[in-house]
Symmetry: D2
Subunit: 388 residues, 4 copies
């Protein structure tokens, strides 16, 4: 257990990045349910993100998705973010919503399509130059639907080539964050299905390539915190895409489906030094809110990550180490569970008050009337959604 003041410091300093697409309309393959007041452009998304930061004090960064957040002048968008007390965070490349990508983007059998996809990735680096973003987050929907559809190894060759070209283009303080996902949207095999594949590619690329762990992207039974510990040990954990799920679609609020798992993940982060800013671990949300109100859902997600972090910080490391070294299974487990069983909401309320915030971020947001205001004002135009 860290000193109380150290715990508070760590909670105050943790930054949780929110995704621009979490503020827009979204859904499942069956239906997108529209909500009133949803932003119509990246500027309005930033305005919503500013509400989350105002309420929580720890969410100043906003991830963009290109082309969903395409604007004419990224410098202007960054400046607008600054004027709201925000910064632009990771640039998420999107090479999955164009008819050309039906059989893949960077791994497509057609060289013309691959060229187009890589050019988009290079454009994203240009955007990073303009926005001052450090992270290029790459998730590829590439894969195949049927056995035999394409050559698995050849697709790896194409992937490696594309990544190499993009890596070479990175600036000194820029990096690739490579994401993996087991099973979707390609039905038979994804081209980056698991952390091992992402890790192997990052290793070849070099120090500016790291793996992103999206908590919703694993096979049933996978021990995610093991992967987190392993990647931290290898210096290859670039960050998290937090969200949760019970089975497939991974758009529930972080910590909603399995708060104990989120705690175990944060325990490995704390234990292996991942809260130290110098490790560069980015704590990002990657989720959409299909049936619940979006801004309070993002706020709740930020709070859930904070609560898991607080509990992880409260683990009595000395007692844990002693029990572990002594082989006392029950005692070691009990040390961890003691921290998990603790109600950390009062501690976080205190931290917030010391930061000049209201203790309950959801109530703080409700009190602003922002939801009513935007529902009234944001009429006409097209509300942002996937692909909007």
């Amino acid at each position: 257990m860290s000193e109380p003041s150290a715990v508070k410091d760590a909670l105050r300093n943790q930054r949780i990045e929110t995704p621009s697409w979490g503020y827009g309309n979204s859904g499942t393959r069956f239906k997108v349910f529209a909500q009133p007041g949803v932003p119509r452009d990246p500027y309005e998304k930033l305005a919503d993100a500013a509400q989350v930061h105002a309420a929580t004090g720890v969410a100043p960064k906003v991830s963009l998705h290109i082309p969903w957040d395409r604007v004419e002048d990224y410098g202007k968008l960054a400046a607008h973010a600054g004027s709201l007390g925000l910064e632009l965070g990771a640039i998420n490349a999107n090479v999955f919503q164009d008819d050309d990508y039906k059989l893949g983007s960077v791994t497509n059998p057609d060289p013309r399509v691959r060229r187009k996809a890589v050019d988009h990735l290079l454009d994203c680096v240009d955007i990073m130059d303009a926005t001052g973003s450090h992270d290029l987050k790459l998730w590829f929907s590439d894969g195949t639907n049927y056995p035999g559809q394409d050559d698995v190894a050849a697709r790896q060759d194409r992937l490696a080539e594309a990544l190499g070209e993009v890596y070479a283009r990175l600036g000194d303080d820029q990096r690739i964050l490579l994401e993996y996902k087991l099973f979707e949207p390609a039905f038979y095999t994804m081209d980056v299905p698991d952390w091992g594949t992402a890790f192997a590619h990052c290793l070849r690329l070099g120090p500016k390539a790291q793996v992103v762990v999206d908590t919703g992207h694993h096979a049933p039974g996978t021990n995610i915190e093991f992967i987190v510990a392993f990647l931290l040990r290898e210096g290859k954990l670039g960050g998290f895409d937090f969200n949760s799920r019970f089975y497939a679609d991974d758009d529930l609020m972080a910590g909603a489906a399995d708060p104990f798992q989120l705690f175990r993940i944060m325990h490995e982060v704390v234990r292996n030094g991942g809260l130290d800013e110098r490790t560069g671990v980015a704590f990002m949300l990657d989720q959409c809110h299909n049936i619940e109100a979006k801004i309070p859902a993002v706020i709740r997600s930020v709070m859930n990550v904070q609560e898991a972090t607080a509990k992880a910080l409260l683990v009595d490391a000395d007692a844990l180490g002693a029990a572990q070294r002594g082989g006392d299974v029950l005692a070691a487990n009990a040390v961890l569970m003691d921290a998990f069983s603790t109600d950390v909401r009062p501690l976080l309320a205190e931290v917030r008050e010391e930061m000049g915030l209201r203790p309950d971020p959801v109530a703080a947001y409700r009190a602003t009337g922002w939801a009513e205001k935007t529902a009234a004002e944001r009429v006409g135009g097209e509300q942002a959604g996937w692909g909007a």
Copy 2:
């Protein structure tokens, strides 16, 4: 093993119903990839289905989805089907693509929405009266995304009430086919997640309610053929929605992901009398073709069901029974595997030629030039997709 002529008779008599929505555009939550020549209305979908029947000789029935296949005059649509050598099959009610259904249809906490949903189901029975369809297929996307969101038991009460009202409206030769699905689109719990739930409701409703087994709707590790055998034993297997999947989305061609599983399912069907028309087991496809050409994909799916059926018919029942009764594990398994290892394509080619068809349905379809013709002609208008 049945007599050769009995095997051929069974293959000739099996009917495989194809879904109107399999001919339209479809995709994942990430992207719908459009294809040229896709139908623009139910009449064009029937024209495509007629191609499948022309090539295979066993697919005269077409399932409709309401409202996707809404027309002014269902009698006229049925007559049109008849003129193409087709009949209209199951009516699939759709209560999941209206903003009102965000929190459920027949299980919605709001009585107004429940009324609307039940009215739609009753409308579907009216349509059945007009089309001469016997089966009302009910799949509810209803469920909840978050623990606590709604009361699990209260939703069952509402479901039971809605089903009871619809059941009472059924005509003498009409039935409810109740489908179940584990995990989608509701993230936390579905209101009809498994066969046990569907079975319990059907039992209460009475003899005109039966369970549909969609092969893509189970948890990993579920033994689907056990469910098939169990429901047949209870007289409660209404039919199949065939398709396949490796993990989540279940839109691959039937038999594409696990042909051995499809064979095992058909083995239980054959063993337990389910090929006998009098049991009323409906062999339906429920799949969409996101990246492959649609008509040949449906043809291939029909062929896959036929091949699995043929292999199941070739199981030497006497030898199997003897080995089973004798407790000879390897011998019993070998009898089954012998049938599975058999290449039944020549047998099916023979059956087709005896029916006056070409032996290779895919080649037969290619030879018609239908794909080129429809790609050229079906321009303008809106191509059918989910919700089109």
Copy 3:
């Protein structure tokens, strides 16, 4: 949220039954690791169980496993239990550890073996008469390892016949608790793989047959609390076998793998009246402790069930119902999460002190020196294990 005093009453009155086999040696298929001081006979197991009850005050009942707990005189064993402040609980029939059962017990293709198995079940009812036990818990390891090995439907016939014979033998205040399990030890299919199968058999048997939910017996992704709510609504939930697991073997302490799931289960129990003694829901543990000390592991498991129950009792039912009826997804979820986030350990400590117990049951047990004493005294003889 119930009144504080009602919450305490409920916690004081809940009974958690512990399993005799949890006190013996156990392991995986790879290795059983022996521990010092482990009981050598049913009498010593009861002595250990009495320690758990002494420390927690809520665990007076002990389940037996026959033949593991075979004794000459069951009346004497019951009297011994009484002298320790305990009662004998459910009788667990064991028809899986005899070479005769290689291909099944009550579903074996060989009628001689089936007769032997049913006779054992009838013997167990005799034992219940002698011990005063009300519950016959039936878990069948029966199933097949290979497709084709035996006839799935015929095995259901045999199962139904065996259950019918045993049901007819039950006394007025005796019942069958039928358990289901997806995948083990039969590799291809279990004969009672899921709740639907158990439910269907219990329905046919009559009111004295109910389903047991073992929390470790489901496919990945299964929503167990849905099953609990459904069975309570149908009056068919007989009880729980609590334990936990991350993937396969289900011998971890209840609540250890997913405390949020255990809370959600108890929420459905509370919400649907299952804490009311008159519903007859039995709260049993079914777990073994392979590498951790056994008695404190049982104590911790009891505490985990209590903590989940306490949190479920603290759910503000009025606020929850209002949010649910209003369709406020986030508010409804927040009501549930508020209860889960609460640290209920102080409340339970208070309840214990009011019962004249020490607030921390694990510390109370440690203070007795029982572990040291039994390690010193229980030497010689054969320590109890599976099959001992």
Copy 4:
């Protein structure tokens, strides 16, 4: 599609290694069912393995498990193997059946236990020197049962240290084959849970360390053939432990649960050059036969691997490549399925007859009377089982 003669050559040259433990008694955690005629020592196991080779002609190698196959003089055992027309294959180290290993072997928190475990591994290399074996197969049951029980990263450090010491001891033509397994026997986390972990360690160790893919060791939904292709591309596929399973325990005959998956795996092997002896890919079985006769079960497993290989060799590579490059999803899949649908049993019968063998290996074995002979002769002594 390779030339017919090349297909036959490949089938004739493939070597499938059988495991000594597949000939002994085995079971699940619930029960080991004994069979008559089971070997009582490593010499008798070799005699059984010789029957498999006599019947199939492709199984001359036998894997040993130490200490299950401990003998005084390994040179003598190797000579005995030679006299039977066999060679000794991989040495499987076993550091999981000693009470000392309750909390792990090479990752145990206690340095004394780690030393003991590493010494055992070094002993195994000595045995390799004596037997002429080239492969040290390492599967560690190490892991933890409860969150917090031990430090995940520290265990990786210990693992790396142990592997390094063993690696340094390897001779020029010896290698480490490192196995991974997701979920058993450790309940919370395994120390080598997935291919990524094994791969990362092998990469650090150097060229004499490669990964073994056990087909039964993955999470549900994992695409095993992707891993195979990836490892072959990286030069890090050391071999296979073939077996199959439907959910957890992985002791079914290779190809029994999902023959299509086995075919897809062999397709990636063929496509990526893995049949070439120079790649060093070892085709090993790792399975036990709990309820079926052991020798014929091994024979059937060998045949299943051969059939999958034959089908993979029959894939028309030119047609496949053309369809893949052209983006014709259905055509590419059809090429693969054509090969899978082919009945290759006649081809393999022909290959066997050309090798001077009977066409049906199971019948050939039955004709020897070996089962009856050993059942009569092998009485007295202790039959081999796990730990025997």
